[in-house]
């Protein structure tokens, strides 16, 4: 088998709240290969968000080893991490986090702004992505004029604009009705078929079951099942 895209070895993370220190992640080991579609489930407070933050390079572990494409993330500077997030990782959030004053097309292009120039090709790609996601007629709408499902699809287009290798989704269907949830998970399945690696945190069993692999996180550790 080829080298894993992501390799976590004994990742630990503590948080301090007043005088009390919690250990949120108590030794996480994980390997994710190119083309994987992994769902992470678990009760709230189990460390899912913290793990996703670490996976998405938004936070650093206290100890342990994180290899992204075989390179040790801990040695990267802030700037290199920014660049990695911009080029290699697409983020999907439960609350979409679209910019309210920008149109769907502009929101889609936001990561391109930080990846160098907004080229003609990027704009072309933004148009294509929005059309592919069924938003061809909503390109110039503001988020407030879109339904939840449509907003999440704009967020997916935004995540894909820089052609990432990894898609990180945090409760992507958490704010959506069942029909929109179905649309979104269908999109994920298709993207995964096209070769995109996806890691998704969810607490909805039927959504998680659409992934190729499910892992349960409880009290800061994966439960093998």
């Amino acid at each position: 088998m080829s080298k894993p895209l992501i390799q976590l070895i004994d990742i630990r993370k503590k948080f301090q709240s007043g005088k009390i220190t919690y250990e949120v992640l108590k030794g996480i080991n994980l390997e994710v290969y190119m083309g994987d579609f992994l769902a992470i489930m678990g009760p709230s407070g189990g460390g899912k968000s913290t793990l996703l933050n670490i996976l998405g390079l938004l936070d650093r572990p206290d100890s342990g080893l994180y290899l992204f494409e075989g390179r040790e993330v801990n040695t990267f500077s802030e700037k290199e991490l920014s660049r990695l997030r911009n080029q290699k990782i697409g983020f999907i959030f439960q609350a979409f986090h679209l910019i309210p004053w920008a149109t769907a097309l502009e929101n889609t292009l936001l990561p391109a702004l930080y990846g160098g120039e907004i080229t003609k090709e990027k704009i072309q790609r933004a148009h294509e992505l929005l059309e592919k996601l069924g938003l061809g007629d909503k390109k110039n709408h503001k988020p407030a004029e879109l339904s939840g499902g449509q907003q999440q699809r704009v967020a997916i287009a935004r995540a894909l604009i820089n052609n990432p290798t990894l898609l990180l989704a945090d409760e992507p269907t958490g704010n959506l009705d069942s029909q929109s949830s179905e649309e979104v998970i269908k999109i994920f399945e298709n993207l995964n078929k096209e070769g995109l690696t996806i890691i998704m945190v969810t607490h909805e069993r039927e959504i998680a079951q659409r992934a190729k692999k499910i892992k349960f996180l409880k009290d800061g550790k994966f439960i093998e099942d």
């Binding site: 938004l58 802030e78 439960q94 502009e106 936001l110 120039e117 820089n162």
Partner: protein
Amino acid sequence: MNTLKLKLLLGGILHKKLRLFLSVLGIIIGVSALFLMNTFGEAAKKKTLKEIETFGPDILMILPGQVRVSAGRAIQTEQRTTLKMEDAQALEKIYGIKALSPLFSGTGTARYSFKTITTMLNGVNESYIFLRKFSLIEGRNFLKGEITGYKKVAILGYKVKKELFGEESAEGKVILINKLPFVVIGVLSPIGIDASNQDQDDQILVPITTSMSSLFNADYLSGIYVAVENPSLIPQIERNIEELLLKRHRVSPSNIDFKIIKAEDIFKFRLEASKLFTTLVQSISILCLLVGSLGVTAIMLLSVNERKKEIGLRLAIGASRRGVLLQFLLESILITFVGGLVGLLIGGLLSIILLPLLKYPWVFPFKPIIVSSALTVFFGLISGVYPAYKASQIDPAILLKGL
């Protein structure tokens, strides 16, 4: 493509327009006040300088008695009758004096057709209107022969002419001054109130000889105006005049019975006052700008707090902390700059309206514009630093904590 980039970077500014307006209000007020007051300061200075110019840096005024220069006006506190026509004649021999005119001032009535007015009657010679740099809009100056020949001729001040003749020409008409007939030979162009605190438009000039003999029957002068060849020689000439007059009057320097007044003496105070005024108002305006920029700081902090998610997202998808810092710094500068621009516009508009209304000369406020713009950008920078720093320190991990 560039406009898109600009919008994605700075589109957030226009998101909350009312708030934006409120935050720049302080800047607008500060800048317009700063601009207006700078303009006024410049205009006041220019006005005073212009008055010095018309009064003349080359002019000396010799007044009998004690004269106090106060509040920018020469005020005669004590009238004396010791300054004589012969003094004026003696002064003509002093080297460096270009021209001089004796002056006898009194009030009297002037009458033409059925209109009677009371006005200043100034007895002078043919050099006076050159010396004072007055110009005529009608007629001619006195002839030397008219002065020496006790002729009853008169040059009217602008207001006197307006009141007696209206739009009608006054030249060649006969008016009654203190019941004596005088032929009008000229009319002065408008001058206004000069440094001697007299409305120069409300006067009638007559030959000094006629004035002293026929009108007032006096044997003394109210003053002597002296024009020198070269203003740099003034101190020397002033000393010579003093020496000569002290000798002629046979008094000691401690009992001096006349005073020599220079343009500088009168205007020094006014220039200082206008400078003080300008500094005062400028400091207030800068204070206002400071308060305004504090307002911008407060609004920017609010905005940063409210846009935490947006900032977190920008950081998550690849913006560097430095980029976010620059973005918000740029926003503050842009906001204050636009506020400054609006302030300049308002200040400019107000000065266009107010300067002529207050009879100040028009100045192109080059310096105020530069000073105000530089200050707004500076204050924009100051007001943006803290909020921008706060923005750059936001933890993108907040995005994953639920909503």
